[in-house]
């Protein structure tokens, strides 16, 4: 509760310093953001494709997201944006199957961020392993709008990890990979891999975890939130 209040106050304060209106609006909305239950709270599930793991010199090359309303994923809200970067994609191309030429044909990062934060207005974020992606987004926002926004997040990896700890299920290396947890929940296997597919996969997993933790009603979100 205190955390949420602090997050709201910080965001409201930052809103005035942001040079990008989309980010200002997002920050404004955070101040009054309510986190009630999974089936009545607006959510946005996001995944980034990166050239590497170091936010100091690696880049965002794709942003994918989808929205959840009333506990259902709106497939019509699916977005997948490729980001144009100057530097070559390098070694990570093998992972993302994104070639330099495709990336070069993408949008400017500023445009991608503007679209993302417009969509995220009034929503709680969902990531699988939030720390990495949020770190990249914070850094990008700083360069784009001059402020480092706050994030109110449901991290499927963290929630599942805590769930297993509580149930004393041993967790081995690799058990908490997105595809591995999804398998456990009987979710479809995606053979392809990109920012949108992973965002969608994360959204589906969030619904699955929620209904498993609260089979009769709807999951209360507050105990599972993490603030960045």
């Amino acid at each position: 509760m205190l955390q949420r209040w602090r997050h709201g106050r910080r965001c409201r304060k930052l809103a005035g310093f942001s040079s990008a209106p989309e980010l200002s609006n997002y920050l404004e909305s955070c101040a009054s953001l309510a986190a009630d239950r999974l089936d009545n709270t607006p959510l946005i599930s996001v995944d980034l494709e990166l050239t590497g793991l170091e936010k100091e010199h690696d880049k965002i090359i794709a942003i994918g997201w989808t929205l959840i309303e009333d506990g259902k994923i709106c497939l019509g809200s699916n977005r997948h944006l490729l980001i144009n970067i100057d530097k070559s994609v390098g070694a990570s191309a093998a992972i993302h199957e994104l070639m330099d030429s495709e990336v070069a044909a993408g949008d400017e990062l500023e445009f991608g961020l503007a679209e993302l934060f417009r969509a995220a207005q009034g929503r709680i974020w969902i990531f699988h392993h939030a720390g990495l992606d949020v770190g990249f987004l914070k850094k990008a926002c700083e360069q784009w709008a001059g402020v480092t926004p706050g994030f109110m997040v449901l991290d499927t990896l963290r929630i599942e990890y805590r769930l297993r700890k509580r149930r004393e299920v041993p967790v081995k290396q690799g058990d908490l990979q997105l595809s591995e947890i999804r398998r456990v929940y009987g979710l479809p296997r995606y053979t392809a891999h990109n920012a949108l597919i992973d965002a969608l996969a994360t959204a589906e997993l969030m619904l699955a975890i929620g209904s498993r933790m609260e089979p009769e009603g709807s999951l209360k979100l507050a105990p599972h939130l993490k603030f960045f």
Binding site: G71, K72, C74, N78, G186, L196, L207, A208, S211
Partner: protein, 607 residues
């Protein structure tokens, strides 16, 4: 990669969405909402407006309001809309059988989809009956008899003399002439008539042609198909038939004309059978059967004609074997009939068939006569086995002394089944109610059939046993993944189309035939006659006919495919070999059968 392609790619695998173009698919995908339901959770109950739901992953169980099992569905299948269960549209509850990911389309979105795409709307709203009926409409062009007429008719007035007729035939260079009276066809005179009825008996050629013609000849309608015409000619042993339209003669066809019109007509085999003089030669001929069958199916002939043609070939082999053995044994010591039962009697044989036959003797045979018929039966049944018509596992064969008896004894068999019915004997005897004479004295078969039909018709208790037997073969209610879905919620592997689809229909129709005293064996004929007799209404008749055609189409296609791959044809189809559309159509056909079975259960108060 498009933002929606994940959704559209999957939708494309789920009928009827596979019929939509990319733009339409995207507009549907845009409106979809994905939800997750853990096992056991209720997804909706149909009192709510559910719209349409696509199963993205998992399985869903549909229950009626009393929570009785209705159906089970899996990936890429739909629910939420009005669904037919057991022949009626029921309210239902959908529950997650496994953890499920479901894509919902709202009621409004669903309605808009149906309005924009009439075919999709039709898919969801079509009545079971229209669905099955539409699926049986195979488009194939049938050559009509009128297309084969090479010249107009050669006509002569009935008052003309024999001499005038002969001169006309010579000048026109034809072998037969149609005799007319007041612009109506009254007879036909052929070369053979002139030879046998005039020259050979020194008849005065000045007499009228009407005195030697064949009166009121059988005619063919100009729009009949070649198969139909050939079957008629071969069965009735006519070589020439006048072709008429609206009562007016258009010309004349010969069996030769018909056979020549189709380079490899299946019934050509019948002619070849007649020419052979030994079992070895017949065995050699019988090797042509598989490829012949395959061609009949692949040319898209309708299943009723295929059944009749295949059976006609079996009949021809049977008759030839009897003739061959009689050349050795000599004339029979008394009148007899070679009678066939089951699918051969019904003229519904397919690629895989065993023999069901018997002998009806005019009277009780003495020892010497017993030996004669034993030898005859042995030769014919062994011969049939060698030709690929394997021995009947139930030993319903003339080879079995029990089925080689006098007419009086046959009647006593029927008496016993009808007067002292018990489930097992009723099950075994139903095949005997499909009976047809293939060789010998047809009146013996007619008399037995008349007797058996009348006795069954008059005995309600026996018919009640028969009804119970009919209801013991229930079709499955559908498919679940690679399994067959049974109506108690369990699944079984593989689908025997004969036992689960064909037999229930032929049993039901036999029941109707017995109720109305119809003596025809062929299921299609029985349906028609029982309808005329008022025992079936038009709509039920159409349902059963269409269901039979549809199930048989899939069965025959499957058998033809097996034969093409060098396998032995079976009635067993693994569900995974059926396309989505076939599954859906089969399911609709099964439901029509269940509907008819339920009506029968109600009528006889059996379950």
């Amino acid at each position: 990669m498009h933002d929606l392609s994940l959704a559209t790619e999957f939708l494309h695998t789920a009928p009827p969405f596979n019929t939509l173009d990319v733009d339409e698919l995207q507009s549907v995908a845009r409106k979809l909402e994905a939800a997750y339901y853990p096992q056991g959770k209720t997804i909706f109950s149909s009192s709510e407006s559910a719209g349409l739901a696509v199963i993205r992953k998992g399985a869903v169980r549909l229950l009626d309001e009393q929570r009785r099992f209705l159906d089970k569905r899996s990936e890429a299948e739909l629910f939420g809309h009005r669904i037919w269960f057991h022949g009626e549209q029921k309210n239902y509850v959908a529950e997650a059988e496994e953890d499920c990911l479901i894509w919902h389309l709202s009621e409004a979105g669903f309605n808009e989809l149906c309005e924009r795409n009439p075919l999709i709307g039709e898919y969801f709203s079509s009545h079971l009956k229209t669905r099955v009926s539409a699926a049986t409409q195979v488009s194939h062009s049938v050559t009509q008899i009128r297309d084969l007429l090479r010249r107009g008719p050669v006509l002569i007035d009935s008052t003309a003399s024999i001499r005038q007729a002969a001169r006309l035939m010579s000048s026109e260079n034809v072998s037969s002439v149609l005799v007319m009276q007041d612009q109506a066809l009254v007879g036909i005179a052929t070369d053979k008539d002139l030879r046998q009825r005039v020259l050979a008996v020194d008849l005065d050629p000045a007499k009228s042609i009407a005195s030697v013609m064949t009166e009121k000849p059988m005619t063919l309608a100009a729009n009949s198909g070649v198969d139909e015409a050939l079957l008629l000619m071969m069965r009735e042993n006519y070589h020439h038939l006048p072709v008429v339209e609206d009562g007016e003669p258009l010309g004349l066809v010969t069996a030769g004309d018909l056979l020549r019109s189709q380079s490899e007509h299946p019934l050509r085999l019948v002619r070849d059978i007649h020419k052979k003089q030994s079992l070895d030669q017949l065995v050699h001929l019988s090797r042509r059967l598989p490829s012949l069958f395959e061609r009949m199916v692949n040319l898209g002939r309708d299943v009723e004609q295929i059944g009749r043609m295949v059976t006609h070939i079996t009949d021809a082999f049977t008759v030839k074997l009897i003739q061959l053995v009689q050349q050795e044994l000599g004339e029979a010591p008394m009148k007899f009939a070679w009678v066939v039962f089951g699918s051969q009697a019904r003229e519904e044989q397919t690629a895989r068939t065993d023999q069901d036959n018997g002998l009806i003797l005019e009277r009780k045979a003495d020892e010497e006569e017993v030996t004669y018929f034993a030898k005859l039966s042995e030769f014919v049944c062994d011969g049939l086995d060698q030709l690929g018509y394997v021995y009947c596992p139930g030993e319903i064969m003339a080879l079995n002394v029990k089925w080689r008896v006098s007419l009086a004894k046959w009647k006593r068999h029927f008496d016993q089944w009808i007067d002292e019915p018990e489930p097992k004997s009723v099950m075994h005897s139903s095949i005997f109610f499909d009976m047809r004479c293939v060789h010998g004295e047809k009146h013996l078969v007619d008399e037995l059939l008349e007797y058996a039909t009348k006795r069954a018709k008059d005995n309600r208790i026996f018919r009640r046993f028969m009804a119970a037997n009919v209801l013991s073969h229930r079709p499955p209610i559908g498919f679940f993944r690679r399994f067959v879905q049974e109506d108690d919620g369990t699944q079984s592997e593989g689908l025997n189309l004969k036992h689960r689809g064909i037999v229930p229909i032929t049993d039901l129709v036999r029941m109707r035939a017995l109720e109305s005293g119809v003596k025809e064996a062929n299921t299609f004929s029985r349906i028609e006659l029982a309808t005329q007799a008022g025992a079936m209404n038009e709509s039920d008749a159409n349902s059963l006919r269409d269901a039979l055609i549809l199930i048989n189409q899939i069965r025959l296609a499957h058998q033809a495919e097996q034969m093409k791959n060098g396998q032995k044809p079976t009635n067993f189809v693994p569900p995974e070999e059926l396309s989505h559309l076939m599954r859906r159509n089969l399911k609709a056909a099964f439901m029509l059968v269940v509907e008819a079975q339920n009506a029968l259960a109600l009528r006889y108060q059996v379950h």
